[in-house]
Point group: C3
Chain length 455, copies 3
């Protein structure tokens, strides 16, 4: 049986994840362009990552892959030659996907292109304009207030040309070709929780699982939000039926409690596994029903796919004030929270890996556990015995209709306790795996990837 949790040192993994967040922080990412490429290159220092390049103009369902956007520099300079807004200081200063511009404007003209957050006067907002051509700058409200009447030189040295949409993919092959899909978005510029934390978690989760004997195959995808998910689904449409479980990763570095947002199905195994893992995590948590808004579960759970994918985050999007502002920086995310998220993900995957269905080989009455060393030898006064109770629950419900997760839920015991009991009973010959659950079933999977433009 898989033990995906073995060998973890949470302290260390948290620091490693945090270091990767720090490495990726300065890069200006968008839904296309070199920022994504550089990000994937840094990730590929840790795990084998296949980059895919999808040409501008490719039709993906109702959408078209847009032109590739790159930016070299952008600033607003006053008549004294001082840069009052400078992209080099923060990738957030530029309205993401701004068209190139070079002109002189009065303050009034300039203001129509400026975005601030009056309620958070020190923070720079994060804004995009992917599907309407325009240019603009984001700045703190205090910066805006200091701008005087003047003639300003505005420069956006960007390009918006035919090119590619880039995404990365890392496949870990398990005994089964059935897949767990784990997805994060890579299109946000200098924002740490949303979603450098997600990139770091996927990277180190893949790195950790790579060394394990796995039941499922695991596919990690690093994709631009929305258009990237739509592109990936369009290119992989015929293979999505291999996806048995999935998670969308984001916001895993802040101090908030864990939140699990259910799949559209609401009662998929991933939903039950995630809720169970959170319930026994020892920490407070929240479970949220599916809604067709949020991250790329919008696409994975669209009615034509309806994949069993939920989203496991700390504080969800939009519910922390720093969301989509410059305050989502390296101080908002902490190694200990990254490590805790990592551990939680592993405990969910541990359930998926091990929640098999067994058949009690002595279904009529209890087997005599004592003679097999599985039971205390002397009856009498009551005493606490959760481990014995777990043995009895596994025996009682291993009738071919209950997985170990089913049993854990009904028994009100942790999956770990039930799984441990099943291992002991299996070793004692009291259980066998249900038909179709044995290892023999799993041939070496013939997974074919479909690189569009391999790097």
């Amino acid at each position: 049986m898989s033990d995906v949790k073995a060998g973890i040192e949470p302290g260390e993994v948290g620091e490693l994840m945090y270091d990767l967040v720090g490495d990726l922080y300065p890069i200006c990412r968008s839904i296309t362009g070199n920022g994504v490429r550089e990000t994937l290159r840094k990730v590929s220092d840790h795990i084998p990552l296949k980059a895919h390049e999808v040409p501008t103009g490719t039709q993906v369902f109702d959408w078209t892959v847009p032109r590739e956007w790159n930016i070299r520099d952008a600033y607003v300079k006053d008549s004294d030659g001082i840069k009052v807004i400078d992209f080099k200081k923060s990738s957030l200063h530029i309205l993401n996907y701004s068209t190139p511009v070079r002109k002189h404007l009065s303050l009034a003209e300039l203001r129509e292109h400026l975005f601030t957050l009056p309620n958070h006067p020190d923070w720079i907002p994060y804004k995009t304009s992917y599907y309407q051509e325009r240019w603009g700058f984001c700045l703190s409200h205090n910066q805006l207030r200091k701008l005087r009447e003047d003639s300003y030189e505005v420069v956006v040295d960007s390009s918006l040309d035919a090119g590619y949409l880039t995404y990365g993919e890392c496949l870990l092959t398990g005994r089964s070709s059935d897949e767990v899909l784990i997805s994060c978005h890579v299109c946000h510029p200098s924002l740490c929780n949303d979603n450098l934390s997600g990139i770091a978690l996927c990277t180190f989760l893949a790195k950790h699982l790579r060394g394990r004997e796995l039941r499922y195959s695991y596919r990690f995808i690093f994709i631009p939000g929305t258009i990237g998910a739509i592109t990936w689904l369009a290119l992989n449409e015929e293979n999505v039926n291999r996806i048995k479980h999935g998670l969308v990763v984001a916001n895993v570095g802040d101090s908030g409690r864990m939140h699990y947002k259910k799949s559209r199905r609401g009662d998929a195994e991933i939903d039950r596994a995630a809720v169970h893992a959170l319930k026994y995590s020892g920490n407070p948590y929240d479970v949220i029903d599916f809604s067709p808004y949020g991250y790329d579960e919008r696409q994975f759970c669209s009615p034509g796919f309806d994949l069993p994918m939920g989203s496991l985050t700390r504080t969800p999007w939009g519910r922390y004030p720093e969301y989509h502002t410059s305050a989502d920086d390296l101080s908002l995310v902490q190694p200990k929270y990254l490590a805790d998220s990592f551990k939680t993900y592993l405990s969910v995957l541990d359930i998926l890996e091990n929640s098999r269905c067994y058949l009690n080989q002595n279904p009529k009455c209890e087997p005599q556990l004592g003679k097999r060393g599985l039971y205390r030898q002397m009856g009498g006064h009551a005493e606490s015995k959760e481990a014995e109770l777990a043995l009895l629950w596994v025996l009682n419900l291993s009738d071919g209709n209950h997985s170990l997760l089913d049993i854990a839920e009904r028994a009100g015991l942790s999956f770990g306790l039930i799984d441990g009991a099943a291992r002991r009973l299996y070793e004692a010959g009291l259980l066998r795996e249900c038909e179709g659950e044995s290892r023999g079933k799993f041939a070496v999977p013939q997974v074919t990837t479909k690189p569009v433009n391999g790097k």
Copy 2:
């Protein structure tokens, strides 16, 4: 799509309903007789109403249409020639269905035929004796206390002869021959909330719907309680399968909150539509489970029919002190409550009319709403957007398995918001109606009425 709510002016409709209640108040109705005929004649000033006359002795399931009861006068006169009880002052003074009598009695003999409410000494009770031949008078307890020892002349100038049971029917033909049945009872004498308010609501609901393009056909029946419902069902037995939804109307004029009593099925579409409408009405309300007691839902929901019919009232029968007493008068019922009930009924019917099932024409991933003008153009900081959320919910759940009401329930959004989103998506070509839901399906309905004795 139907818009049954268009053009309503609640202020006006409340006054019109109240005027009709006032017109009908003096009439002495019973389960048969001229009171019902006069009532239906006044209703027919507002809507096309077909009166049916069913002869005494007609077998209707386990029951027999009784002899027709009519009353011209009734009084108790003391030895001074003063009428101490006088039917002409209130139709409630006579025990309904009293046999004719003309005799002199002592006070003691008379008392055996008198009914009062000691706990409400100023009120006259409403009493009937349909299936046991007797006579009696109802009076206030204070009136009774004033009666002295005397020889009283008792006159009940009534008749109980072979005749007819009368009921009225108004059919509004929609695109479908599937029917919504709306029923009220017309057998109570001078009682306003129970049930002149129900008669007025049915009248003005029919009048309002008459001018609309309707999905369903609507059948309004004005029937005597119990025996009238049984008679109607017996005569229409082969056509009840056309009834897809229904409501029993009563007590819709008092100041109490709305109550919906579910159908026997408990989860019929009418049950869900009514509960949804109340939930989003902005007013407090109560939902009551079915029980085989109350109004004519007892018959419509008997196991041999089990029609999907609930009952939508304000304060239910028996739960207000004035119930079945002379205090259920023109002061208990108010135009504003009648209007509010009318509005609530329309909002339920609006759901029935519009809760269709659609198919998302771009089921794989979200369609690009922005290019269709259905979405704000610039991403970024979170903002409230219920209308966009409604669009996404309709797209996400329009998979052929969810009606708009299903979607509204799951989304936790009002039906109006979901219906509005569906209209916009439909117009944008992103939805089409599910098979069997298109207008083409609905031939002109061949409804045949079965008048027993047309008037």
Copy 3:
């Protein structure tokens, strides 16, 4: 229809049960041996009981019937010849199933064989060692503290030889060969609540039912815990499909509230009947979900049998401090609690006996109850009428899909009220029994018992 509750005088039955508890108290029982035989002999003074003797070495599923244990005497004597521990004073003093021994030991050597309850220094614990050969004594902690350094003579005059496992069975034949199985354990020595109270309840329940006209056949089994249940199931494997309902009886004499522990199925008719009976008992109660721990429901509800059997007790095992100690004596159990338990059992059986399925013979609209004398004759002001409501509920739901228990649950009325209404309607010809429910179906049952070694 059965009336299993007729003729009960709870005061008397409580005293009779208590007397039987007192009679059985001094006997040293175990899972085999003469203690069980003597117990069954005393029970057979009250009811016809068939004793079964199953030879040592008989294979019963995963288990083997053990050697028979008998004990004549056991003591520990100090050097002054004083018996400091004496089996003759309490059967609890001997570790149950102790092997024979005769030796002299120092206090230190002796202590390894002594068991006490330091937290309850006056109580003797109850301990067993069925499947590991050893000997030992149980004593109060205060007794232990008084033992001084000395050379102690230890005598256990027991035998552990090939013999039999003994159990008793009492079958009451009803109209149907479908059975209700009622089981109690008879292996505990001088412990009153656990489980002399259970033996007494089974005895007097069987005695009471014996005089009744019964729908079901009732099988009472008096068996050693665990190995007795396993043995009974192994020997009766092919007949367990006759068991339609069952209860495991224990702890029915203490002052605690009633507890019902559900069957593994959780929604079996016995579960619903027991919960309904408790709900309308007028006393506080608790309902517990199934768990594969406790009494012999562990065996009856093992996955290979999954019998619809729950357990109805007062305070469950292990939840009262006196459990499995000498304090579970004749003062813990009281006649009034025994009588209350008896009454509760009867009310559960009354539901099983009478919860039939009927068909309304006038399913279209209500039948006219008035002309059959089932209804008050005069309509009008509201009044309380639970009995009429019960008539209407039975008529409304007697559609072939609802048993009387189903109807009682949905109506929120007591089973007694619903059953009474059904009897009145049945007598009036308004109901008939559903197919397969009539008496004619039940041939005289051909029950064959399988005595192993009849006594």
